[in-house]
């Protein structure tokens, strides 16, 4: 059974990778662009998964770190000359340089966001459950206001235009395709890293802390180290995603990163399925496509109300919690398990009957 599951997983992943690589050849520009967003959200959700799914800490502040990554990329791609062109004068102690291509900013954005996440995690790891939810929510709500306050660095409420994205290194790839592969390439790498981390000690320790902190601590797991690390790495992933987002949208401002997006980020992860990579992937699809689909719902006419998508989203969230608390991935896992089990027992029965015949 175990072997069957692993093989099944490998096959599914292989298919997904293949599909991912081939889709741009066959899909139109709009679909490619939307799937790029899916890739970006996937990165953020993989990170959030480490924090919420494996470490069991509720975070309603993920999008704030996403925003930190986005702004980091913005500042680095514009550089000092770019900022001054727009009439902003960032403080001289900021190492802004002369502007670089966005792709190089991804690790820096991840690092900066990760540091902020780690710094937040230090005091916050004492909190749990509802208190942590409130604390992280506080971060998400304060974030746009803080951006507005430090106008010199962030461009204030008016925001900053990045240079329109370009394919680097003279590659012969169209810009939308470049952005797509950049996002999914990064996503693949980061997902692999996350998987490896979670397979090892990190995953086991986080799981132990989540399932029974007192027991874990008595077994020698250092809660501070692991919990703050979880915060840091989750923020780093969000930062990397934010970097790609800034490159794609080519504009950032405080209103682009409201607290409601942090809520939607967590809600999407829950919809997709907390605690699993597939859940993060499905959640990413939900985050991008649910809005698009619910705007075209059959019985709810847009003429009647523009609020229908919001109401639908809220209702769907509630229903999913009732019917499928482990999200879509949980549902699929149950179905998949049933299929595998059925096939497995049939295989066993088949081989037994063959042996009997022989």
């Amino acid at each position: 059974m175990r072997r069957a599951l692993t093989v099944f997983n490998l096959v599914v992943i292989a298919v997904l990778v293949l599909a991912c690589a081939l889709i741009p050849q066959h899909a139109g520009e709009l679909t490619v662009q939307r799937l790029t967003y899916v890739g970006i959200y996937f990165i953020a959700l993989v990170g959030l998964n480490i924090l919420v799914g494996y470490s069991g800490q509720i975070s309603l502040g993920g999008y704030a770190f996403f925003g930190i990554g986005a702004y980091t990329t913005t500042l680095l791609t514009l550089g000092k000359p770019g900022m001054e062109l727009y009439g902003h004068h960032p403080p001289s102690w900021l190492p802004l340089g002369n502007g670089m291509h966005a792709i190089f900013t991804i690790p820096i954005a991840a690092l900066v966001a990760g540091l902020f996440g780690y710094a937040f995690g230090l005091p916050a790891q004492r909190l749990a459950g509802v208190s942590l939810a409130l604390a992280t929510f506080a971060v998400a709500v304060s974030f746009p206001q803080i951006l507005k306050k430090f106008e010199n660095v962030t461009g204030g409420g008016g925001g900053l235009n990045l240079n329109l994205p370009e394919t680097p290194f003279g590659l012969d790839v169209s810009v939308p395709h470049w952005l797509y592969y950049e996002a999914w390439g990064t996503a693949a790498v980061l997902a692999l890293v996350a998987w490896l981390l979670l397979r090892g000690r990190l995953g086991r320790s986080l799981g132990a802390l989540r399932d029974g902190e007192i027991a874990a601590v008595s077994s020698g797991v250092n809660p501070t180290a692991y919990k703050t690390f979880a915060f840091g790495i989750s923020a780093a992933y969000a930062g990397a995603a934010g970097a790609l987002f800034a490159e794609l949208v080519a504009y950032v401002n405080p209103d682009t990163f409201p607290a409601s997006r942090s809520i939607i980020l967590l809600a999407s992860l829950v919809l997709g399925g907390v605690g699993s990579m597939y859940g993060a992937l499905l959640g990413a699809f939900a985050m991008e496509y649910l809005q698009i689909w619910s705007e075209n719902m059959p019985f709810v006419s847009k003429e009647a109300s523009n609020q229908a998508p919001a109401v639908t989203f809220g209702v769907i969230l509630i229903l999913v919690m009732f019917l499928a608390p482990y999200g879509l991935a949980g549902l699929l896992r149950r179905v998949g398990r049933a299929i595998i089990h059925r096939l497995d027992t049939k295989t066993v029965a088949l081989s037994q009957s063959r042996r009997a015949e022989a």
Partner: protein, 415 residues
Amino acid sequence: MRKALVAVIATAALVIGASGASAMTRTDAATPGISKSLITIGGTFPLTGPASLYAPIPKGMQIYFSWINSRKAKSDGKRGVYGRQIQWKYYDDQYTPSKTVELTNQLLLQDNVFAIVGSLGTEHNQAIRPLLNQRKVPQIFVSTGASFWGTQAKQFPWTIGWQPDYIAEGTAYGKWIVKNAPNAKIAVFMQNDDYGKDYLNGLKEGLGSKASLIVSTETYEVTDTSYASQLAKQKASGADTWVLLTTPTPTVRALATARALAWKPDTIVINSVSAVDSVMNAARNSAGAAYVNGAISSAYLKNPTNPKYAKDAWMRTYYRIMHKYAPGIDARNGFYYYGFAKGYDVVRVLYMAGKNPTRQSLIDATKRMNWANPYAIKGVRDKTSATDRFPISTIKLIRYQDGSWTEFGGLIQGR
């Protein structure tokens, strides 16, 4: 095991197939959005969320276009523009600039629009301006009064504004204060963003050497609902002239709060965006008529609730068409009227773009505007040139009294 493999490969095939199926088919038309029978234009608006009170604007535009599509033009007897029906598509960007970018891409790639028309929001249009200019897509008549649509026309030639910009309006107020209350002590209450700042810059410019008359400047955040703290400070500054550079809902709150703090400045100036009936009525109900009577603002369009225009032929046309195509809605809402008036200018430039319009011919048309929009106040003209990219820059001051605004003084050239 083999079965599982087959099932998985089938799924993969479905996935790839589905993505291929969703690939949009590009029209073979030489100009996107223009076919033999249709002109497709689109825009983004905050239909939900914090700025949803502007939602009537695209609806007003839609109703105007519906009328154009069904009436026979006097010039050639054809319906629509030279026989082409106007297809107007608009989406809800929830007042979030990143959504504006996504939806504008959707309009371009999926709906194949000819031009982006009237999208609302300063930051929102700022977010899409570079990409539209790069793709040479007209971004015309944006629904925001930021001044840089006009001042940065050289870098962004495919973008043009429409209404009198905030700096021009602020300048008009500044000049009026200097003329009528040269010893005023001015308190400015403004939204803490480019909207407020543009207005303030205009005000200071209009005040000129008397800019020191401003004794107090306070800001508020869009997220806050209570301004008692800031207004108490403004009251304490001893100001007797109060300039409100605030969006509609905060304007109501500010007026009510000031009244509750027993602060009654001699002169209250309210920016034109907030001088709409719903705001003034709500303010009148809560702060009392005596408080809001005498408030000054400015306008460039006729006010659909002003009794002066009750018999105006064009106002009658407006109400007639509104009632015909949308009988249930409240046509007195100034935002429907704004969309309607804008629709007039949109159709006019579409005509100017010629019988075989291209994106280039459309944007060129916006450089040769020179007419009087009949829905605007008499004397206000749409005028542009290669160097002047501010279509409407004439305004008139108005004064509020017992439920309606009355125009006074002459026309003011903002630029």
